[in-house]
Symmetry: C2
Subunit: 477 residues, 2 copies
């Protein structure tokens, strides 16, 4: 999940410029920084990308609208193949809107993350940006263009929210791996890490169990001078461990590696999010490459730790060009990283925990008080606001057509649709399964990922939405 | 419509304290002033009224939630009989929430309307207040309490919006005379005044035509010293007309009187909004009392103007206690009045116009530029923000269950429901008709106003919503 490991993700984006494939024009639109009050007049320029190659103007052809994530919008435009692939058939205008406070869309320039400016970084404001942009795109069309939202991960949550909150603006949403239930009280906090573990376990049971054992070895090793010396040398740490508590940073980095790997498990070669590891050719090859170092679950401590280092080396240093393991490079204070840090302290508080029994991670409880304190230290947010927004509750959302169009379809290859007859537990299940299959979301809805049946299903949905829109045209004065 | 003539409405509220009938406790809840950004930590106390006489705690009994209008919430609590009448049958908790910036809910105390504080007066923020309050009310119930929103006029718009924007919070809404389509491009700007005219015409065709003629007489009279002297004396104006342009203020006042009278045309005695005129016993008696002075459409100028004065005297000085006609008293700068002035310059820009042919008013076009300039003079709002919010478009809203529960039911005695099969023109019609029948909204959904069939219909709807809610309970962790 990008939301968990934005640190890693952003690092990879910075390091690995991908070969560009899809083309578009870059445009900007003036946007008020606050859509919900009149307390400030400040405006900024929102970046968006447009491809009108296939658009049939004035015919009521649709707009395919990507709701940008927590990062540079170009990366998402390059990895949303389904939109490009489907555009000719629908005569669609392709639009990729950047999320405020990311990429080149910085409402207060390089002062955007100053404490007195960052407060307008919220999903609600971003959704309103999208609405204003959509209205701008729709004007001057002789026949109104219906809009379908697309997104994956946080961007998928935004697509789903856009359909839920502005059904008058968006006629449908295809939201892939959008964890709209990953909030307090909606699913167990263990869910995410259990599913990540099951991915490793399915590649090799020994792999998951070796990783589980490694935490104790790392703790023991780092508790003595000799052990730290051994680790500094054998793990080639750029910044050596000097005291036992220094191990925590390394363990956090490892946890991020494992979950990131689970998330970018694509069944085809891609450089989405990271090209630092070998392009995978089959769904499990990435695990196999990594897990082949961890085939034996009864290795002793140093043997295990050496093997583990070789395993993660595959991830961070596949080309062999790094002289040392720089876990700090992942914590670069670039804006994308900062942005998600802020959002995950405000609206997007997603409780996560591990028990070390049903998952392969070191046990850790979800401690909201501590989390909240850390958020306060970083962002000086008053405690009262550090909570998931009450306007975006997923689970208690009624099962309206809104949700039925916002779904995580890539659930172990099965299309699972949220629809009015599905009870909440079913929705939860489809979400949980969705997590393991973020696999395809790198190239969100890339046709390559879709079986013929799925491709047919989604295009059919879009066709039905458009037909319904034109049957009930909005009347103007 | 309260939104048109808030000046008058507020005057009447100030002058006419009604006899209280329904009881409740007054409570307050801390509320952030901004629900959509983290740019300010300011909070305030939101007032709400509670009656728990009939509430069956922990049984999943509903909360009937009144979404407060642009005025003191107590007035609306005293005039929403249906909620009190239906509460025993449903075991409902009754809650009346005050709208921010009105009544006793002033986010910045007596500085709330300072230009640097007033910007948080928006319907979107008010809706979020309601959501936070509802979540507060629902906690500690062993079985979740579903919420049904009620409201009339602007409060009805809020009920409808609450259901549309937060279907996860409100299971249904009964919105009476809620002009959610009274925005640019949604209905013709003449609609409102034509319907008001038709009310007068149906009481007596001569009445409407006398009023139509009076504008020219007023203009002629005020254009000369002698004419102004005559008007000052015969109309007993507290503030005499000194120049010809002074007539405009008087004409505005008259227009407000006519439309207000059309709006508070209840088929039963009431002191809602104003007790300055005699309680009406039948639907048309108010017009009759007024229009009996205007029975002859061929009166000459002075005769007509004298008759007109007697007619409006019925409205503003029924008890005979006023020594002079003080049209300025209506423009008292009380907060409710100020609030609507602000809202109608920001989100609630409702285009109105007259042609003097199909209506009885002096012709006037809808001049957005002029309107916008006046708003700027008063509120120093940047032009860019003076427009109806793009998040609250009524007409283009898809015909979802959301809208089907938000309806203006009192349309010439007929229940007209917005439902997925109704085309937009139908919705428009039901709205237009609704305007003439604001009649009953004074005591919004007062059982007295409802035919047996209507009473049955609404209770059945509520029952179905509740049943559906309990069939699909929100699952918690």
């Amino acid at each position: 999940m990008m939301m968990i490991s934005s640190v890693l993700v952003i690092m990879c984006i910075a390091l690995c410029a991908g070969a560009e494939q899809y083309t578009y024009h870059t445009k900007y639109l003036d946007m008020p920084v606050d859509h919900f009050s009149f307390a400030t007049n400040h405006t900024f320029k929102l970046r968006y990308l447009v491809n009108d190659t296939f658009f049939q103007e004035h015919t009521g052809s649709p707009i395919f609208f990507y709701t940008g994530n927590e990062g540079d919008i170009e990366m998402f435009a390059q990895n949303t193949g389904f939109m490009f692939d489907a555009a000719p058939e629908f005569g669609a205008l392709l639009v990729f809107a950047e999320h405020r406070y990311y990429g080149k869309t910085l409402p207060f320039g390089n002062k955007s993350y100053d404490l007195n400016n960052v407060g307008y970084l919220t999903s609600q404001q971003a959704l309103a940006d999208f609405v204003v942009l959509i209205r701008h795109l729709q004007q001057n069309q002789d026949r109104p263009s219906p809009v379908i939202a697309f997104g994956g991960s946080y961007g998928g949550m935004l697509s789903a929210y856009l359909r839920m909150k502005y059904p008058n603006v968006v006629i449908g949403a295809i939201a892939a791996s959008a964890p709209i239930f990953q909030f307090t009280g909606l699913i167990p906090c263990e869910a995410f890490n259990r599913i990540a573990t099951s991915d490793y376990r399915s590649a090799s049971p020994a792999c998951a169990s070796s990783i589980r054992k490694s935490w104790a070895h790392l703790n023991n090793m780092s508790s003595t001078d000799a052990g730290r010396k051994w680790l500094n040398e054998n793990w080639k740490l750029c910044k050596p461990l000097n005291k036992s508590s220094d191990i925590n940073e390394l363990k956090d980095w490892l946890q991020n590696v494992y979950t990131s790997l689970a998330m970018i498990d694509y069944p085809y070669p891609t450089n989405f999010l990271c090209q630092c590891m070998p392009p995978t050719r089959s769904q499990n090859i990435k695990y196999e490459v990594m897990c082949q170092q961890l085939y034996n679950s009864s290795m002793t401590d140093k043997v295990l730790l050496k093997s583990l280092f070789k395993a993660v080396n595959v991830y961070f240093n596949y080309t062999g060009s790094a002289n040392c393991l720089d876990i700090e490079s992942s914590a670069t204070q670039n804006l994308g990283d900062l942005g998600w840090s802020y959002q995950s302290c405000t609206e997007m508080v997603m409780p996560m925990c591990t028990d070390g029994v049903n998952d392969m991670f070191e046990p850790s409880v979800w401690d909201f008080a501590k989390f909240s304190e850390e958020c306060y230290d970083t962002w000086k947010l008053s405690q009262i606001l550090i909570a998931p927004s009450s306007c975006m509750e997923g689970r208690t959302y009624p099962l309206l057509p809104t949700l039925s169009s916002a779904m995580d379809f890539w659930t172990r290859g099965q299309v699972v649709e949220f629809c009015p007859v599905s009870p909440p537990p079913h929705m939860q299940l489809s979400y949980q399964k969705g997590l393991t299959t973020w696999t395809c979301v790198g190239r969100i809805l890339t046709t390559q990922c879709l079986s013929k049946r799925q491709d047919f299903f989604h295009k059919n949905r879009i066709r039905a939405w458009i037909r319904n829109f034109h049957l009930l045209p909005p009347t103007t004065n």
